[in-house]
Symmetry: C2
């Protein structure tokens, strides 16, 4: 008789991985072909070979992996095949590590249903980033996948984030209005997270004050210049958790020689420890 | 010696197709496998077969085609292959008809570069829809493709559009702030359009007052309930153009029998003529 194992939700997997590896680090798998070591490019599947080496070298240091779909889609069908293969490899070799697909999808309800299938059924991610500009009905089909993590953009890490996200509505910026909506949606669905860039510590602090418990996905450490100490100081929950601190380029492209995976491990270990120093 | 032919920009192709076919109609190619005629499903490539029949039946009635990428991505690699094949078929068989990829992409600059490649180099669309929530640097790599059409979400057609797009900033709603930014970006790049849902005629009117010339992509006629007469009344430019009126489900799923392409043609012709009645 087959043994049945209860499938964990994204949140359960995430909390378990944080505990098991004692880490808040998420490694972004953004395999830019221009930066992948030359000796891999000649192989039949350089993207997957690169990702596999990075994953095998860092799996005890991370609480999640975050492939950004654009880096695969820009390489056509072979790129997307490598993405599916990468997610599948993580599920098989490291089933305790959740996979966040960074896709920032967002569309009207009837279309969103198809994006939901793309992310959770075709690519088989545990969580996904989505864009709130179209409002609730564009997110509903994602939210209804209660076992998944739905990570909604709030205050993004890029310089132009202020173009619209800081626009004042009744003296409060748009990102606060978005945060309040996410908090309300989470009361119903219990599977929401928010994206808040490490480049905006003041904003991170304001949102943590509004929402003491929710997980925030925090990009922007490293190449983008976000400050780690402030991110931890303003973002941690009372139990020294609640943050997924994502770094991509600074880790995965630490070296473009044959030692790329060891060097990525070294960088990841250093960042993991730095994060823990401030926890 | 090979004859060189000057490649037309999206805007030139669009204006030519509008004149040649005397139409503002855009047919959305959203091949939902649950709605495609049963007799096609058994074939080796039902999505492409469906699209090809719809395209061949309507090419003299439209000013553009608009595949929505989610309907392909939800079918995995074969779906995306059918999308690439569909775009390629339009370029080959009807090179005067531009293809708008509905993808609503939006991410930080270094990632946006890869989405730009996905849309214009892998899928080879003439224009793309993008999401403004992350601000200018998330759109820059798209805007820099001057020969392409960059169609930025402003006021979307869905019921929850009001969640954030109507939020008041200094007494003006967010979608007006977005529209003003798009108008400013267009002064520099000359390749912008906006998405404004037919379900919001008052908003359409307000934006046309701000911007007398720009093309608006208008979804929401048909299944979503947008009113055609008001859309034309409030949206047309002085020269009776400036609108791309998109309809998907109401046309392509007019019949699920063997007559699906003829019935799609009939519906498309009816809508094209209705639009022209109000021009």
């Amino acid at each position: 008789m087959e043994k049945t194992r209860k499938k964990l939700t994204f949140h359960q997997k995430l909390e378990n991985a944080i505990k098991k590896n004692n880490t808040l680090l998420c490694v972004g798998l953004d395999p830019d072909l221009d930066k992948i070591p030359k000796h891999l490019i000649a192989g039949s599947d350089p993207i997957f070979a690169f990702n596999k080496a990075i994953i095998d070298a860092t799996s005890d240091l991370v609480c999640s992996y975050k492939p950004q779909i654009a880096f695969y889609a820009s390489q056509g069908l072979l790129g997307l095949k490598a993405l599916i293969q990468t997610v599948s490899y993580i599920h098989m070799a490291y089933p305790h590590i959740p996979v966040i697909l960074d896709a920032k999808r967002g569309d009207i309800g009837s279309t969103a249903i198809h994006y939901t299938k793309e992310v959770f059924d075709v690519i088989r991610a545990d969580a996904v980033t989505v864009n709130p500009y179209l409002g609730f009905d564009s997110l509903q089909s994602f939210l209804e996948r209660r076992d998944k993590g739905i990570i909604i953009l709030c205050k993004t890490s890029n310089p132009s984030a202020s173009d619209f996200q800081d626009a004042k509505i009744n003296k409060e910026p748009l990102y606060i209005k978005v945060a309040k909506k996410i908090i309300a949606w989470n009361k119903q669905y219990h599977n929401c997270l928010m994206v808040i860039g490490a480049t905006y510590p003041k904003e991170l602090s304001a949102i943590r004050t509004l929402e003491p418990d929710m997980f925030f996905l925090v990009p922007g450490i490293g190449t983008q210049g976000g400050n780690l100490e402030n991110t931890l100081k303003f973002g941690l929950t009372k139990n020294k958790s609640g943050l997924i601190i994502s770094s991509s380029r600074a880790i995965i492209f630490a070296s473009n020689g044959k030692d790329f995976a060891q060097m990525a491990r070294k960088k990841a270990k250093k960042l993991k420890n730095e994060i823990n120093k401030y926890r």
